[in-house]
């Protein structure tokens, strides 16, 4: 069996893995990227629309342009990588097992691991649409790959379920390729992607956006012939008598993304409720020396934010190897972060008390859109240590806070923090 010895192994050669590996390599450590596709770049390669890079490069780029810059940098730094290679297991003592069709089974012994496997799409099975199982049902990202990379059109007339950004971007993309998009159907009473995409991808082309409706029947046995959509009540139950039929030969599902953590779960690392691994403020999982970044940790809005997080993971993995690797460390004293009112999840899950003098980056999403709110952090004694007004919060926009808990006078014996998004008390309502 072929064996590799490296300082850091990065699982996944997409935007997150590349940025993390570059940081590690620049710190003069040996790094190896393992990628299951036939080239580096990941999903950003199929996001051929523009709107990336404004944070990272201060210019507006397409997905392929954005990731090409990182591929070029990795190449210039001579970072080694394995393509067409699937990791099948990693162990808590940082041995990675992978397979490919040239070397067979490979063993990689590392001192640290960076998880950068990205996320995958929710499918029909995850949302339980009744009906036959005809061909012509795709997830939006799968259709995006066919159209933008492989050069196939999955159909001619489309209905898209879910108003996430990929779904709306695909509606425009398919229109540009000469297809007809009959409607974008959204179960929530509001659009779930960015307004920019609603305007430039749907309204520009007169594609109807139907909110408060979902698909209740798929017609057709061999190939999909159409869908029935129905209005739903506040419990998302179908309202009888509200059915509408749309003829189509293809249905795209844009109904959410799930961090891809099968390897993480099998390694024994703790997984949080939203599907990503539990991490501390250094992006380290509950396994010593295993870090996570990008969409495998939490689904991001924008690749720029993935890059920023991946650089932190790279830096922390480097520091781990240079300072802490092999040292016996006692049980860490940690503060647990919890999602409170209208907060879907919060990262990090844990804060090391030894890091309280450093700035901590919190990221979270709200459950429902709300105007004129207060973001508040309470400790376990109910003392409010932080509050900030915000005009508007929506689930599709990840909120980031950079806070120094020591400066916020957190009690050193705190064990828990709750982050919540609450309506502003009357006295605080003023023009902002």
């Amino acid at each position: 069996m072929k064996k590799y010895e490296v300082d850091v192994v990065v699982i996944g050669g997409g935007s997150a893995g590349l940025a993390a590996a570059i940081v590690v390599k620049k710190a003069d450590l040996n790094v190896l990227i393992i990628e299951r596709d036939k080239e580096l770049g990941g999903i950003t390669l199929q996001c051929i629309h523009n709107g990336f890079g404004l944070h990272e490069f201060e210019e507006e780029l397409t997905g392929p342009e954005y990731v090409q810059k990182f591929i070029n940098e990795a190449r210039d730094l001579n970072i080694p990588y394995l393509l067409d290679t699937m990791v099948i297991e990693f162990t808590p003592n940082k041995t990675v097992y992978a397979v490919n069709n040239k070397e067979g089974l490979i063993e990689i012994n590392a001192n640290a691991i960076i998880l950068a496997m990205g996320c995958r799409e929710r499918t029909r099975g995850a949302i339980n649409i009744p009906g036959f199982r005809p061909s012509g049902i795709f997830t939006a990202g799968q259709a995006q790959r066919f159209v933008n990379i492989e050069g196939y059109l999955p159909g001619r007339t489309f209905v898209i379920l879910g108003s996430g950004d990929i779904g709306m971007i695909m509606a425009r993309r398919l229109t540009w390729e000469g297809c007809e998009v009959k409607a974008v159907v959204e179960i929530q009473p509001y659009v779930s992607g960015l307004i920019r995409n609603q305007v430039q991808c749907l309204e520009d082309y007169g594609i109807p956006l139907i909110t408060g409706y979902t698909i209740t029947k798929i017609h057709g046995k061999d190939r999909i012939k159409g869908v029935t959509i129905s209005k739903v009540d506040h419990n998302f139950d179908r309202i009888i008598g509200s059915d509408k039929f749309f003829e189509c030969d293809t249905l795209l599902l844009s109904v959410g993304l799930i961090p891809e953590n099968e390897l993480t779960r099998e390694s024994g690392a703790e997984i949080s409720q939203m599907g990503g691994p539990v991490v501390d403020n250094n992006l380290e999982t509950t396994i010593d020396g295993v870090f996570a970044c990008g969409n495998v940790l939490q689904v991001h809005d924008l690749v720029d934010l993935v890059t920023a997080e991946a650089k932190r993971a790279g830096l922390n993995a480097t520091e781990y190897i240079k300072e802490r690797y092999g040292k016996e460390i006692g049980k860490k004293l940690r503060i647990k972060c919890e999602a409170g009112e209208n907060v879907n999840y919060i990262k990090p899950d844990l804060i090391n008390k030894t890091d309280l003098l450093n700035d901590i980056i919190f990221t979270f999403r709200v459950k429902v859109p709300e105007r004129r709110i207060l973001i508040q952090i309470r400790d376990n004694k109910n003392k409010v240590i932080y509050k900030k007004k915000r005009r508007y919060v929506i689930p599709s926009e990840m909120i980031e806070l950079k806070l120094n808990l020591n400066k916020l006078n957190i009690d050193s014996d705190s064990t828990n923090l709750v982050v919540e998004v609450i309506p502003r008390p009357e006295v605080l309502i003023e023009k902002d």
């Binding site: 051929i48 397409t62 933008n148």
Partner: protein, 132 residues
């Protein structure tokens, strides 16, 4: 509400424009009243500028793919290097669909020069190596 005078070639009539500058998404009303542009409903300066441009001359960056004959992949993602007037996007797409390229291609290579007689080029969004 604000008014702008002395615009050349202003489109006639009025339009409701959904502002995309920030997530608030103000609905801005823009109207040409006897050559004078009336803009209302916005809540910031950037929104006003956006609505004005959307009314007078809406433009979009075009991002699509082009066929490649001997590439590592059958397609290469491309984009316009400047925003294209919205009403000319379809023509540009048709022109792009007719073209077939040869690998290797480097990111930033000009694939179609001065499309539709405009100062706009179609450029490659990535590198694409050749395969035999």
């Amino acid at each position: 509400m604000s008014t702008i005078n002395n615009e050349k070639n202003l489109p006639e009539g009025s339009k409701e424009i959904r502002c995309i500058v920030c997530p608030t998404g103000c609905l801005v009303h823009v109207e040409n009243v006897n050559g004078e542009l009336i803009i209302e409903g916005h809540s910031c300066k950037r929104g006003e500028e956006y609505a004005r441009e959307e009314f007078v001359a809406p433009k979009r960056i075009l991002t699509t793919t082009m066929r490649v004959e001997n590439g590592f992949l059958p397609l290469i993602p491309v984009r316009s290097d400047k925003a294209i007037p919205k009403e000319r996007l379809k023509e540009t797409l048709k022109l792009i669909a007719k073209t077939k390229l040869k690998a290797p291609i480097k990111m930033g290579d000009i694939l179609l020069e001065k499309v539709l007689g405009l100062e706009i080029n179609i450029i490659a969004s990535r590198d694409l190596i050749e395969v035999r």
